[in-house]
Subunit: 417 residues, 2 copies
């Protein structure tokens, strides 16, 4: 199955928006054994889109378009597909009804240009998009399937998993689906993880791909044709064993916060959080998981010194003697929070996100992360010399990981490699 | 100056490597006033590369290729450029000497295939690459400049800044700068914004593109050739006027939180935050902006009822009578926080993120957002029937927008369209 991908949108050519959809689709198609001949990024210009479509029809078994399905005048995909197919556009009544319902649910009416999103080339298969406004559609032209997806990455991902891949399996039955399994890792570098995996000599029947998803790393272990799911799991287990404490989950969709939430829920325990440099990000990652009220009682964003004193009972003396970013203050934050909140665990961060505020002893990127429990308080120090935004992310992940280690009975102090 | 970018390499089509070079180049070219017609990602296949080159020559003033300049058999760019140009490949003695020196420095000898990197289409301008092995080159074909860059992002970036951009400035002195300006909007649907803009009849010399960046929308207004910056600004101003209160900034890089931070900083005022359903996201968006300590004192994530009572002084009675998600509780949260924190503004959220917890009166997606100030408390109610994650994002944005409206003297209660 040969595929051409056409990504449509001026914003993708102005340096404003990076087209990640084509990359995502290429990876998914590679997994099904498809061959991506080419990806093209095109302007919102009818003539150019039509020419690219005609080119693609002459070389491909399938064409995937992304973007250009919105309700405004620069959204041209449906018009260009119809023109190249030599078909009229026809209003789909089910789509109109859906658009009206969506508008009504938001207390709006459906405007005239909103109705454009219910137009499809005659004879197309219309695919409902539960994640957004624009329905997707498939138009068969000269025995080539043209599959038009919306450009919003979240919608595109959903429709790829739920509609595009099943469609391909049915339309191109020769397509091979290879077996894959996954491991999520946190706390060590990609090259260290790579060297551990290479030391295992798992053989030529397996391929391990490393996908850094800052600050975590996801390993995808793929068995070549003929490898049984059981053999694949054995290899995954041996890698997981070698990465003990570092690989935290083999469930593809498990994030660090989901994993920690499960561990808390399973043991009926509750955490409270006080953040300085992470500014709410740590709490917000836990609250993002449904059912958070069972495992999370309260969070404090004690960004100013005075709020550390008034909300957590940190002593003015410690703040003056050691500074807000210090092991001592992190310890008092964790202790004070545990007492005030009556939670089972307290988790706190205080660090220097930058760009200013660093010193020789404590450069920008220095952070203290503390965990409190009835058996005592542990504080670890880390240096994360990253951008402000990355610093906050990796600090939040490190705090979640500290709680994970505590809940899993692992060492809390360890050397990073 | 019209440009086509051709990115060459199988790894860019397998989902393994994301092509970031084209995005980087597009941004740089947009800054110089160039118009990127198209970017294409191609396989390491001579025929395909040559066809794409010929296509590009017919529509562009300049073609930029990236990748395919290495020493292995799948590196075909120099061969394809020579073939399309109808020229022979010729060994460049300076390049050979450089390759030999580099090999010697690493204690290696120059292998036969290494010598391929010294071959260039006859008549090309050879450009030394101090950051890597592969020299770059420019070949003029039918009055189109074909500029071939290496695919390694670090090398490509260096050569773009030091060679490509200076070359463009010399080669296309008449380059017309297409003017663009921007408007950030929040609170209304893309189709509503589109219908307002269309109603203005701004004429054919201007193009308006809509980029939804949930939950916001960015408009890019571009003037066609010959439009003066003044005319463009007039059009932008008329659109901004028609979208009064909805368009919050015309600064390209301004986010809602940056805009609000500026408004606070300019007036020397401070906000404190108490969040329930947004769980820290609202605080974290403000803290993400450098210098947050000047405008933000503290945040409370009062996820449980008991924390609303202990930290904010919400009455048990109100919680029992009206429920945690109610106008009354939002009002008490905003009032309590303003008193406890001594900030100039308090900003609070309480809502039902789902998936559970909804009722007929207050379905999943219902949220109350409150703002407190010495002149009183205002609470607005919204319904956001989105996913849990989108609900939290749009709620945080709505709270920031409420603060923006307050700071800008706009109506706080308005109907959403």
């Amino acid at each position: 199955m040969k595929v051409t991908i056409l990504a449509i949108g001026d914003e993708l050519l102005s340096g404003r928006t990076l087209d990640t959809n084509s990359h995502f689709l290429s990876g998914k198609l590679a997994e099904t054994g498809g061959e991506v001949l080419e990806t093209r990024v095109l302007r919102d210009e009818a003539e150019q889109i039509e020419k690219a479509l005609r080119d693609a029809l002459s070389s491909s078994d399938m064409v995937i378009t992304t973007g250009g399905l919105g309700p405004t005048t620069d959204d041209l995909t449906r018009f260009s597909v119809a023109k190249v197919a030599g078909r009229e556009l026809k209003e789909d009544s089910a789509s109109i009804q859906r658009l009206e319902e969506r508008a009504r649910a938001k207390g709006r009416e459906l405007y005239e240009n909103g109705r454009l999103q219910a137009l499809f080339p005659e004879g197309s298969k219309i695919i409902e998009n539960p994640t957004g406004t624009a329905n997707s559609f498939i138009t068969e032209i000269e025995q080539v399937s043209v599959f038009s997806l919306p450009g919003v990455p979240r919608e595109l991902k959903y429709l790829t998993e739920h509609e595009l891949l099943p469609f391909i399996a049915g339309r191109f039955p020769g397509t091979k689906i290879r077996q894959s399994c996954y491991l999520h890792c946190f706390g060590y570098s990609e090259s260290w993880v790579g060297s551990v995996v290479e030391g295992l000599e798992i053989g030529d029947s397996f391929n391990v791909a490393y996908r850094p998803d800052f600050p975590e790393i996801m390993l995808t272990i793929t068995g070549r044709e003929g490898v049984s799911p059981g053999d694949l799991e054995k290899v995954r287990d041996s890698i997981e064993g070698a990465l003990a404490g570092v690989a935290y989950s083999s469930n593809k969709k498990d994030s660090l916060e989901e994993h920690v939430s499960c561990l808390l829920r399973d043991t009926g325990q509750i955490v409270a959080i006080a953040e300085s440099c992470t500014g709410g990000l740590l709490s917000s990652r836990l609250v993002a998981i449904a059912g958070a009220s069972e495992i999370f009682s309260q969070g404090l964003v004690t960004y100013s010194n005075s709020s550390k004193v008034s909300l957590l009972g940190v002593s003015e003396e410690s703040l003056n003697t050691y500074g807000a970013v210090s092991s001592e203050v992190a310890r008092e934050m964790a202790k004070g929070l545990l007492e005030h909140s009556k939670a089972d665990f307290s988790l706190v961060t205080t660090g220097i996100a930058g760009p200013g505020g660093g010193s020789e002893d404590k450069p920008v990127g220095t952070v203290y992360i503390g965990i409190g429990h009835r058996d005592g308080v542990t504080v670890i120090r880390r240096e994360f010399p990253y951008s402000r935004s990355q610093f906050r992310q990796i600090t939040a992940s490190s705090a979640l990981d500290l709680l994970r280690r505590k809940l899993s009975g692992l060492e809390l102090e360890f050397e990073i490699r």
